[in-house]
């Protein structure tokens, strides 16, 4: 399996610290400078403290030998040492997170930055791509980001923090503009100039906008032509207190909230269109399917309040719960975080338009399926949205599900279901002709072996447990 060891194509920006992926673990190759920085961290009480409280990924120095002879060829030139990291069950990106997730990732970054200062360390960058989630718990994964503090220097990651954390959060909190499409479209985030154009004059009176957005954009324009190195040296002489700036940014971020997320959180479970009998039978069906399958990774697509994700988590190693609606995902995340649930990862995702490969060669950020395919898929109360709202033909949708090579639990609401009726009401007579129970059952049987099917008490919804046909 040595040939499968490769330098992670998305890890090239920081030449002092590059990620190497092997079948058994994730490694990090450090240059001479990188190694010195790592030792400064390893010799401080910080490493032990942050790893044991779960805010930093588990890491040990193993040296280049751990990668074997053949792997030595692929290590970047000048590699001095190699670290081994604990694995993250499923990699996710900020454009798949809800507001509260991005905010928690921002707070974690700032907390680590402030804790580092006490030990004479700092973070060389401040990007949400340095944070991953273990279920609802954010964890900082870029150990290579810690470096020795150079007294008096400005906060190197401030601009990046604004572009990828602060501006997206401010836009969502103050302007109700979802940040996900923007972060998906711009890998480096929103520039101060762009952000300033999005806020009105009145917004400048809201916390953080005047300084971090308006003034930031103005200074950026004014000093555009100046060499950053020169400015840095000039400012260094002033010995600015970055700790005060970081503390005030932390206070600002911790006070940001998003109303829709709050509402969805309080109205949790009120939107349910099911009868109790339906919900009960459905839960039993799912529970039995998961218990039999004993899956490693389960995808709950269209997870809503996550009721079935929680059932799936009873017998799955890890559950990724997707929903298109950001407010729902935000509510689910908060509820999972309140329970400290580490086996369910909630993500904002539209299955009709899943996360593509992004960045340099389209490999820096990987597609959804590239990050791990499921053993079990729950597609409950989903197909009508995909078929009727997004107009994806039923056959195509089932083809895609078949390609996942996973056990499938799928629900089909018939044309008499109130939600289906509502979705069809805006459509021309005769559209979505493939949305018929008989057609669905035929197409499903062509691709899967249906092991079990049940009709729910309401009579308008059917459940199927199916395995991919050989």
């Amino acid at each position: 399996m040595v040939e499968a060891v490769r330098v992670e194509p998305g890890s090239f920006r920081d030449r002092d610290s590059r990620v190497v992926v092997a079948p058994d673990a994730v490694y990090r190759a450090l240059s001479g400078t990188g190694a010195d920085d790592w030792r400064a961290l390893a010799n401080s009480p910080l490493l032990e403290r942050l790893t044991s409280d779960g805010s930093l990924i588990g890491t040990e120095e193993v040296g280049p030998a751990a990668l074997g002879d053949a792997a030595a060829e692929i290590l970047p030139e000048g590699t001095e040492t190699v670290l081994r990291h604990e694995r993250i069950p499923f990699v996710s990106y900020p454009y798949e997170w809800s507001f509260a997730m991005l905010r928690d990732a921002a707070l974690l970054t700032l907390d680590l930055e402030l804790a580092s200062l006490d030990e004479g360390l700092t973070l060389k960058d401040a990007t949400p791509y340095n944070v991953q989630f273990r279920g609802s718990a954010p964890v900082f994964i870029d150990v290579g980001s810690f470096e020795r503090l150079r007294e008096g220097e400005a906060w190197a990651g401030y601009r990046q923090f604004c572009m990828l954390f602060l501006f997206p959060l401010l836009l969502q909190a103050y302007k109700e503009i979802p940040f996900q499409p923007w972060l998906r479209g711009a890998i480096d985030g929103i520039t101060p100039t762009e952000a300033a154009r999005l806020f009105s004059f009145r917004d400048r009176f809201r916390r953080g906008v005047l300084t971090h957005v308006a003034l930031h954009a103005r200074l950026e324009r004014r000093y555009e032509a100046r060499d950053t190195g020169e400015v840095k040296e000039e400012v260094k002489k002033k010995k600015i207190k970055t700790e005060l700036i970081k503390t005030s940014v932390r206070k600002l971020v911790s006070k940001l909230s998003w109303k829709a997320g709050d509402t969805a959180w309080t109205n949790y479970r009120q939107d349910c269109t099911y009868s109790d009998a339906d919900a009960e039978q459905k839960a039993a069906f799912v529970r039995e399917a998961v218990a039999t399958a004993q899956p490693g990774l389960t995808w709950d697509m269209g997870c809503n309040d996550g009721a079935y994700s929680r059932i799936a988590a009873e017998h799955s190693e890890y559950v990724v719960a997707f929903d298109y609606d950001q407010a729902t995902v935000d509510a689910l995340y908060r509820s999972l975080r309140a329970d400290d649930e580490r086996r369910i990862l909630p993500l904002v995702a539209n299955l009709a338009d899943p996360s593509p490969g992004l960045g340099w060669r389209g490999l820096e950020r990987r597609t959804l399926e590239d990050r791990g395919t499921p053993d079990l898929v729950l597609a409950l109360a989903l197909i009508h949205h995909v078929s009727i709202t997004a107009n994806v033909p039923i056959a195509e949708f089932l083809d895609w599900l078949r390609e996942l090579e996973a056990t499938l639990v799928i629900e089909f609401p018939t044309r008499d279901d109130p939600m289906v009726k509502r979705l069809l009401s805006g459509k021309r007579e005769g559209s979505n002709a493939d949305y018929e129970l008989e057609t669905f059952e035929r197409l499903l049987a062509e691709r899967f072996d249906v092991e079990r099917s049940e009709s729910l008490p309401s009579g308008v919804r059917n459940l199927y447990l199916a395995r991919p046909r050989a």
């Binding site: 030449r15 400015v231 207190k241 005030s248």
Partner: protein
């Protein structure tokens, strides 16, 4: 020595920090000064951080810092 990181911090962003850093230092000094005045006026009262002597030395250090800083 000029140390260059892989990330360009942006000249405008660095300038903004110089400005914010200056303002923050002034605000902290004012707060500290305010506390001292308050203590002087209500010297018979017990203050929260009274028994922690280092706090007093931090005050002086912070003030000292502002004096030499042209903002």
């Amino acid at each position: 020595m000029r140390v260059l990181a892989y990330l360009d911090p942006g000249s405008g962003s660095v300038m903004l920090q110089a400005l914010l850093g200056g303002v923050a230092t002034i605000l902290v000094s004012i707060k500290m000064f305010g506390k001292r005045v308050y203590r002087a006026l209500f010297f018979w009262k017990r203050h929260d951080d009274e028994d922690s002597e280092p706090a007093a030395s931090t005050t002086t250090a912070a003030e000292h810092e502002t004096e030499k800083e042209p903002v």
